[in-house]
């Protein structure tokens, strides 16, 4: 069947007042555009005869073009003849004719101003709804916590330990490294600026305050949001997708108690510890860089750190940790429960949960900053 690969050709001739189109070779999508053009031109000029004798292969696109031309010619009251039709082509033409797409008339109407306003309103209402839902999840978590206290036997201790490992222990290297590098950067940048005033020694205060108060816990929370919120969403979401959640419900297992409590509680326990590790390693990084770059010895760094940095700086940083943990955990679990039945929504929700968690963490941090500034600590 090598002739199926012959290039297609269209020969046009005038014959007793009718346009005669002789098709040669294998017809496929490659020649569809010229075929449609020739057919339209021929139909526009009057009666048409199509000779398919020399066609080695007629594909559905060519058959479609012929069917459409025939339909046009018939609606114009012209004659349209097809000759040399092979048995296979006849079946194909028949099948195409039956399937000819019926153009539909219902087009989406353009957006008007009121529609746009409605969309804005709906989006705002949806955001409010979203916040309410998150609040609902917080309530659910607290309720299940109390229930666990009243009935300690229902608490899933193994799951808690497992999630503590996943959320906390496994995050230690990345958190420590990141914080160490931030300390190095602060020391380096701070020293260049402070040297202009001969105030290099204040680099210790700079590092201590910025790491303990803000950066240590904030950056830890951001990393944990990226690591853990996505992991929560993906794990719960894929259970949702495969109807495991529904199965749990029908088996009488409390979904919130079984899935949310161990995860969020693990975060609550682990995030302050991670924050503390971040603080220490940030100070170590800063101290090391101060030693190398400014010649501030570790002993001097330690003395200045203890003398000049109040305990409040550390406490302010640590106070934020449980709030961040709750936000990350609740956003992650909530997004997981929103996953639909297809894999696409799993991906969407996972990335949405990370973005929401990081955004919420930063907003909360800003609110805390304003609050502490107002309170004066």
């Amino acid at each position: 069947m090598t002739d199926t690969l012959l290039p297609a050709r269209i020969e046009t001739s005038q014959d007793e007042g009718a346009t005669r189109l002789a098709l040669h070779g294998a017809f496929s999508l490659v020649i569809l555009t010229p075929l449609v053009r020739d057919l339209t031109r021929a139909v526009a000029s009057g009666a048409v005869t199509i000779d398919l004798t020399a066609v080695s292969r007629l594909d559905s696109s060519a058959a479609w073009a012929i069917c459409i031309a025939e339909k046009d010619a018939i609606s114009n009251g012209q004659s349209f003849q097809i000759t040399g039709l092979s048995e296979e082509s006849k079946t194909l033409l028949g099948a195409i004719k039956k399937a000819l797409p019926q153009p539909d008339t219902a087009h989406p109407k353009p957006l008007r101003l009121s529609d746009r306003l409605e969309n804005v309103g709906r989006t705002i209402a949806a955001s409010g709804q979203f916040l309410l839902e998150l609040l609902g999840y917080l309530g659910l978590f607290i309720d299940r916590m109390f229930r666990s206290i009243r009935h300690p036997s229902t608490f899933r201790f193994t799951a808690l330990v497992h999630h503590c490992t996943e959320v906390g222990v496994k995050a230690v290297p990345i958190v420590a490294l990141m914080s160490f590098l931030i300390g190095v950067v602060l020391a380096f940048q701070g020293s260049t600026q402070l040297r202009q005033f001969g105030a290099e020694v204040y680099v210790v205060d700079l590092i201590a305050i910025s790491v303990l108060r803000e950066l240590g816990i904030l950056l830890t929370a951001i990393i944990v949001a990226g690591r853990t919120a996505s992991a929560f969403t993906a794990a719960i979401g894929s259970m949702k997708m495969r109807e495991e959640i529904d199965a749990m419900r029908t088996l009488g297992i409390d979904v919130a108690g079984a899935l949310f409590v161990p995860r969020i509680l693990a975060l609550l326990l682990m995030l302050p510890i991670l924050g503390l590790i971040a603080n220490i390693s940030g100070l170590v990084g800063g101290g090391l860089m101060s030693w190398i770059d400014l010649g501030i010895s570790p002993g001097m760094f330690q003395t200045r750190l203890i003398e000049n940095t109040g305990i409040w700086h550390l406490l302010i940083g640590m106070i934020k940790a449980p709030f961040f943990a709750l936000i990350i955990g609740i956003v992650g679990c909530h997004a997981g429960m929103q996953v639909g039945s297809n894999a696409e929504s799993l991906g969407q929700k996972t990335s949405a949960s990370v973005v929401t968690a990081i955004f919420a963490v930063i907003v909360t941090d800003a609110i805390f900053s304003i609050f502490f500034a107002q309170v004066g600590v």
């Binding site: 069947m1 199926t4 496929s28 999508l29 490659v30 569809l32 555009t33 449609v36 594909d59 559905s60 696109s61 479609w64 296979e88 079946t91 194909l92 028949g94 099948a95 195409i96 399937a99 000819l100 797409p101 019926q102 153009p103 539909d104 639909g340 297809n342 894999a343 696409e344 929504s345």
Partner: protein, 264 residues
């Protein structure tokens, strides 16, 4: 049967597939003739899908030869391969539609490579394929996630047919469909293979599909194609698995349901 006179479009010789120590195929031979609908059956884990993937070049076998339309799939150059890929279409189990494109755009994907094809004509061709596979006209604007399982399969079939292939590969075409939807799909495959002159290679579990659509059946067992032949010939095979498969309660039900109108 004048099988020697028929043109062989897929020729497999000595195929050997292995995952780790697990041998899936050993010395597997199979011929597929032009214009026929071949159904490949076999128990779970006998490598039906692996066979299909090997022919389509998605899986490189350890040894053996696979010729499709006169081209050796395993040694073909990139050019030869892409020319060959335009002459076959593959429908995956759940359609494998691109989730970011709507149905019409999905079907247009293979047509985008064709130089000189007008975009409007391309969309019309996609609509034609949508109609040919029995999808409602409005399905073109829908995204895969908005389609039901059966519609997704039809859309996957429409995409496989986008370039009017000579060979159509179907992986479990009726799996997961309700009996009515599956029966309609069987009829559709039969009709399309007739009207478009397709050679169909289908992997299935479904006895009804075998009855309703297949000209010939190949049974995979013991790491090779144990036997090929028509449904009638299958009934006389004495191999225990084949006997159980074609004489089990489900097989009898399927045979009773469809009167012997296969002689078309």
């Amino acid at each position: 049967m004048t099988e020697t006179e028929k043109e062989i479009v897929i020729r497999i010789r000595g195929l050997h597939n292995q995952f780790g120590h697990h041998v899936v195929h050993q010395d597997l031979d199979l011929d597929v003739y032009r214009g026929e609908v071949l159904g490949v059956v076999g128990g779970s884990g006998t490598g039906k899908s692996v066979l299909l993937r090997s022919i389509c070049g998605l899986q490189t076998p350890k040894a053996g030869e696979i010729d499709v339309l006169g081209t050796n799939v395993l040694t073909a150059s990139d050019d030869e391969r892409s020319r060959l890929e335009r002459r076959w279409g593959v429908m995956f189990q759940d359609g494998a539609l691109f989730s970011s494109l709507n149905t019409r755009e999905n079907i247009e994907v293979p047509m985008r490579d064709i130089v000189g094809l007008d975009p409007i004509l391309r969309a019309q061709m996609a609509d034609l394929k949508i109609a040919l596979t029995g999808l409602p006209y409005l399905a073109g604007d829908k995204f895969p996630s908005e389609l039901s399982g059966g519609m997704r399969k039809r859309a996957g079939l429409a995409r496989a047919l986008a370039l009017d292939p000579e060979i159509l590969f179907l992986d479990e075409p009726t799996a997961g469909l309700d009996p009515i939807g599956a029966a309609e799909f069987d009829i559709l495959i039969r009709q399309l293979s007739k009207s478009m002159g397709l050679t169909v290679f289908l992997v299935t579990h479904d006895l009804d599909t075998l009855h309703a659509t297949c000209d010939r059946i190949a049974v995979l067992a013991e790491k090779k194609v144990l036997v090929t032949g028509t449904m009638k010939q299958m009934l006389d095979v004495e191999h225990p698995w084949v006997f159980e498969y074609f004489h089990g309660p489900r097989a009898r039900a399927a045979m009773d349901a469809i009167p012997a109108k296969k002689a078309d």
